[in-house]
């Protein structure tokens, strides 16, 4: 993909332009080793996304299974799962992930993603559990239960659709969290440097003294990409929040503006 698109490979070394600033040949310049930054960025996107995706899919799945099971089952199952969640929630997650990946000594984006997902699922679980729990005692669930629906169908057909919003928000959050965590780990040297991810790029740029040598084109893009991804997800979350919490909609900018204008007009007319 990268090859055909940019006629550049992320790992190919162009010995004739080492540490070159952006040019028509290398749109984002090259690294100190003569690798095309844009090509690295593009293939880094894939790996970072892969890590984020694996982390997010795994984390969200665990969270859904644990949260929904706890919320719907109640009783001792709930207590046990909630306890488990709280344990993971209170432990310093990144440190834990770092230590674990320190033991496993790196690995590709998939391995890193798995570790992040495996130890970083607790965040959304509480919310899911609370939602599932409140849904469980909702009257429509009781009503369907009284029709004789099986538990499985109740969970899948009646309850889960209501959690889609939460789950997707969680998924998005987990995704960005995964990308960020991967970047952090790569910065700490827990990564497979034969792959290229945004985090690895930053870490290599830093090791290559990119900033001091004035090679901003090497240092800036991966960080900006992460920030951009995070920002877009944060903005999505803005929307999700407004959907899940209608009261927030009152804070809509255009409405507030119109209201201000309207009341100002009223005051003016009154003053006359």
């Amino acid at each position: 993909m990268t090859h055909q698109l940019l006629h550049q490979s992320a790992t190919a070394l162009d010995l004739n332009s080492v540490s070159a600033p952006p040019s028509s040949k290398h749109l984002l310049g090259t690294t100190a080793n003569g690798q095309d930054v844009l090509a690295q960025l593009v293939s880094g996107t894939r790996e970072s996304m892969l890590a984020g995706l694996v982390a997010s899919v795994l984390g969200t799945s665990i969270a859904v299974v644990v949260g929904v099971t706890a919320g719907l089952a109640g009783g001792i199952v709930d207590s046990a799962l909630t306890g488990l969640t709280n344990v993971f929630l209170t432990m310093p997650g990144f440190a834990l992930i770092f230590v674990i990946s320190g033991y496993t000594r790196g690995g590709g984006p998939v391995v890193i993603g798995i570790i992040i997902g495996l130890f970083g699922w607790a965040g959304g679980t509480r919310a899911l559990r609370a939602q599932a729990m409140s849904l469980r005692s909702r009257e429509f669930v009781l009503a369907m239960r009284m029709l004789g629906e099986s538990r499985w169908r109740l969970a899948m057909v009646e309850v889960l659709p209501h959690l889609i919003g939460w789950i997707s928000a969680m998924f998005l959050g987990g995704f960005v969290g995964g990308v960020l965590a991967e970047a952090g780990l790569a910065f700490l040297g827990v990564s497979d440097p034969s792959t290229i991810s945004w985090g690895i790029m930053i870490s290599q740029a830093q090791q290559g003294n990119a900033l001091i040598s004035g090679m901003w084109w090497w240092f800036a893009p991966p960080g900006l990409c992460i920030a951009l991804l995070g920002a877009s997800v944060a903005l999505v979350n803005f929307g999700v929040d407004e959907i899940s919490n209608p009261r927030l909609r009152n804070a809509n900018r255009s409405l507030v503006k119109r209201a201000q204008q309207a009341s100002r007009a009223k005051e003016v007319s009154h003053a006359r």
């Binding site: 009503a143 029709l147 004789g148 659709p161």
Partner: protein, 354 residues
């Protein structure tokens, strides 16, 4: 559109008395008690005595109203009927046979006879599913329709709850319906399984005032046309009188009085029933009296007790102006009246009529 309730309330009033007790009940609660264990921090628990020795019978073609203030255990009793809890003692009997909460086929069989209509029509329909989904599931689970006739059966159900034109309603989502219409869908869903008993837990309290009577009239019609047995739970004693043949009054988990509706309204025996009646708004009273002085009379009559530590004996005694030592000692036995009315109160000699 809906004032087609032929028969009318007056008509019913005539043939309701003699029937009482003649026919065996479809569903009954026999001396049920329900205590909830509530877990606090550090494994400490307390017991909420939500329902004590309650008995109630539902008969074919009759509506029994259950009134009482908040927390008096009305919902708990309805849920016991719906087999959501196992009673601490006593039993629920369907056609004389004791039943217990279960799963699978047994539960399905029970629910094909007993259905519930919930308080909040906004909450009792899944906002994600259409009217069709609700009715379809109800029909399919209980094998009440095959592939060919399912559409017809669904439309028929909507017809029965007067959601016409039925074709317009079947594919609507709950948010496209008004509260009254939603409640009708909920009733249609309950009817879909062909039940003999419908438990209505405050089915109108969340509805707009103008739409309440609509639902009450629909319930009355179902009783008459389909000979359903109905439990009508409410705060509003006036609506109980309007709809039901029998009224049972509960206070703090105890059944304090019951009997034919008119008797209870016109001739309340238990001090709590009287308090309730006095407190209920009655425009006729004020307006005929020409003033609103009645309010001054009930300025402070205390509050219902905490069911985790209820007062001993008759739970009403702390608020009762007639309380005696007997009241504090034990819950009084039942006093029966020839009219079919009964009361649990020390003011009346047990076994005798007042």
């Amino acid at each position: 559109m809906l004032s087609d309730t032929d028969g009318g309330v007056d008509a019913r009033a005539h043939d309701r008395g003699p029937e009482a007790g003649a026919e065996p009940p479809v569903l009954e609660a026999v001396d049920v008690t329900m205590h909830f264990t509530v877990r606090g921090g550090l494994g400490r628990t307390s017991t909420v005595r939500a329902l004590e020795h309650a008995s109630l019978q539902l008969r074919r073609g009759r509506i029994v109203a259950l009134v009482g203030e908040s927390g008096s255990g009305k919902t708990t009793l309805a849920r016991l009927f719906a087999l959501m809890y196992t009673p601490t003692s006593g039993e629920i009997r369907l056609r004389g046979k004791a039943v217990a909460p279960g799963r699978g086929r047994a539960a399905r069989e029970y629910y094909s006879e007993v259905q519930m209509v919930f308080q909040d029509p906004f909450a009792s329909l899944n906002s994600m599913h259409t009217v069709r989904h609700n009715l379809r599931r109800a029909l399919l689970i209980h094998g009440r329709a095959g592939k060919n006739d399912i559409e017809e059966r669904m439309l028929d159900l909507l017809e029965r709850v007067s959601l016409t034109p039925t074709k317009d309603f079947i594919d609507k989502l709950p948010h496209e319906l008004s509260g009254g219409q939603r409640q009708r869908v909920a009733i249609a869903r309950a009817l879909a399984v062909g039940p003999k008993v419908i438990l209505g837990d405050e089915p109108i309290s969340m509805l707009d005032v103008s739409m309440r009577l609509d639902i009450l009239n629909l319930l009355a019609r179902l009783r008459d046309e389909e000979e359903l047995a109905l439990l009508y739970i409410t705060h509003d004693i006036a609506s109980a009188r309007y709809l039901a043949e029998e009224i049972h009054v509960m206070y703090a988990g105890q059944m304090v009085e019951g009997g034919p509706a008119e008797e209870i309204i016109q001739n309340p025996q238990h001090p709590y029933t009287r308090l309730l009646l006095d407190a209920s708004p009655d425009p006729a009273r004020t307006v005929t009296a020409g003033g609103s002085s009645v309010f001054a009379d009930v300025e402070d009559s205390g509050e219902p007790p905490n069911l985790a530590a209820p007062p001993p004996g008759c739970r009403f005694h702390p608020r009762c102006p007639f309380a005696t030592d007997d009241c504090r000692r034990a819950f009084p036995a039942r006093t029966e009246h020839p009219t079919g009315q009964w009361v649990h109160c020390w003011l009346y000699p047990s076994g005798a009529s007042a």
